[in-house]
């Protein structure tokens, strides 16, 4: 699985430009608040439209300004774990997790049942509860389960652990590493915590005022992206 992202987004106060390639590991985007990290995730997922650029997932274009490709959010097969989780408050945990389950089994993937995914994330006991009845760490696991249930080809996580206490946070960092190695899909994770970036990231990119700076390169060097024009 290879994801190539090269995009420019004109924001009111600055231009955001990023260019990176990611294989089956975790890319961490770090940087101060308002640097444009979430905008990058939203552009990749299709919730925002880049001004210019190209996003390729396994050589399949989901966005290309030159070829006029703009696959709608719902068809991109990109999982998104939102900051503060965005669990549906009116649905049980089970219904939340099942919301994005593909209707037809995709032949290339083994379809997971809700029981399996809840067990992998160690939350089978929460099945019949509502989001307001569970803790922050549990919500995080549910949000992860819900996103993975869609059988995504890429997972985006926006400050997934920022609202948690240090112990839960350390535990969930390990869980994320475990889930990523199990799923073998690229993760792009946003955080403002440099330590967390070190723990989780195979590669780290720092974004400040829309400008990217590669802080840590992946162990096996990837073919570098093109210059952003």
């Amino acid at each position: 699985m290879t994801v190539k992202v090269q995009l420019r987004k004109d924001l009111p106060s600055f231009k955001l430009e990023v260019d990176f390639v990611i294989e089956n590991d975790i890319l961490v985007l770090v940087g101060p608040s308002g640097a444009g990290k979430t905008t990058v995730l939203q552009c990749i997922s299709g919730l925002q439209r880049p001004t210019w650029g190209e996003i390729l997932i396994n050589d399949k274009s989901v966005f290309s300004s030159s070829a006029r490709v703009d696959i709608p959010v719902r068809s991109r097969r990109i999982g998104y774990v939102f900051q503060d989780y965005a669990l549906f408050p009116h649905m049980t945990i089970e219904k939340n997790v099942l919301y994005g389950k593909p209707e037809k089994n995709n032949s290339s993937h083994k379809a997971l049942t809700v029981t399996e995914i809840l067990e992998i994330l160690k939350i089978p006991h929460l099945r019949k509860r509502y989001p307001s009845q569970i803790s922050g760490g549990e919500k995080q696991r549910v949000a992860l389960a819900r996103a993975l249930m869609t059988e995504p080809e890429l997972l985006l996580l926006d400050e997934p652990l920022s609202a948690l206490d240090p112990d839960t946070r350390a535990l969930l960092q390990q869980e994320l590493l475990r889930v990523q190695s199990q799923w073998k899909i690229p993760f792009i994770l946003v955080t403002h915590d440099a330590n967390e970036a070190e723990v989780l990231g195979s590669q780290i990119i720092r974004i400040d005022h829309g400008v990217q700076e590669v802080v840590k390169r992946p162990r096996t060097p990837l073919t570098s992206g093109h210059e952003v024009g």
């Binding site: 919730l47 991109r76 503060d84 965005a86 549906f88 408050p89 009116h90 509502y130 307001s132 819900r146």
Partner: protein, 228 residues
């Protein structure tokens, strides 16, 4: 002389039909207005809310002009379908619907605006199309606003007097709704009839307000507990 129940039945018919019309228009329009920005939005917003502040006689006068025999729509309906709106129950329904519309519209729009956009976006990233987002996320989360708007619109339709009198007249057994019957009974000294109808209206209005308050408190507790 026995008590005439027809005003009560007519009122319920008119209010029921009016609320159905209002639901069909107010929910889609409120959704569009809550979700989209376009030029002239403020002007449209003001027009949609206008019947709330206009005296009902003004609404009645305008409707009478539009649907009257020589009015633009009245002429068309008369010549094309041989139908007349003035002095009919349909006229009363239209008057009630126009007057009740802003209540439903405002209530639904406020409820939709208060929903965290992130939840709708989350549904989109989970593969949901716009219709699925609307029916499984937007409407369930705005449900309290929809119910409150529905009840207020029904109550307002039931109490409609001025606009109804102007467009539907006051024909006993045909267009004479409860508020009109109360006025006539009071004017003609039929105090007993007036009191019965007044009691029904007061009791009903009280139940509406009490029910809404109860619903509001209950749903707060429930959302704390997590269910709808």
């Amino acid at each position: 002389m026995g008590f005439d129940f027809s005003p009560i039945i007519l009122s319920l018919k008119v209010a029921g039909a009016a609320v159905l019309v209002v639901v069909c228009f107010a929910i889609p329009i409120a959704t569009l207005m809550a979700k989209h920005q376009f030029p002239g939005k403020n002007i449209l917003e003001s027009i949609l809310t206008l019947p709330l502040v206009l005296p009902p006689s003004v609404v009645g006068f305008i409707l009478l002009y539009i649907f009257g025999k020589n009015g633009p729509l009245g002429k068309f309906l008369l010549h094309t379908f041989d139908t007349q709106i003035v002095f009919t129950l349909t006229g009363a329904t239209i008057a009630s619907a126009v007057v009740a519309f802003p209540l439903m519209y405002q209530s639904v729009k406020a409820a939709i605006e208060s929903i965290d956009v992130k939840l709708e976006n989350a549904a989109r990233t989970l593969g949901a199309g716009e219709l699925r987002v609307f029916f499984t996320i937007t409407i369930p989360l705005a449900w309290n606003g929809v119910i409150a708007g529905f009840v207020l619109a029904f109550a307002r339709s039931l109490g409609e007097f001025g606009a109804t009198l102007m467009i539907a007249g006051n024909i006993p057994g045909r267009t004479q709704t409860m508020p009109l019957a109360i006025y006539i009974a009071s004017e003609s000294g039929q105090t007993r009839e007036a009191w019965i109808l007044v009691s029904i209206m007061v009791l009903f209005s009280f139940l509406v307000i009490y029910g809404l308050n109860y619903w509001g408190k209950g749903s707060k507790n429930r959302s704390g507990g997590g269910a709808i």
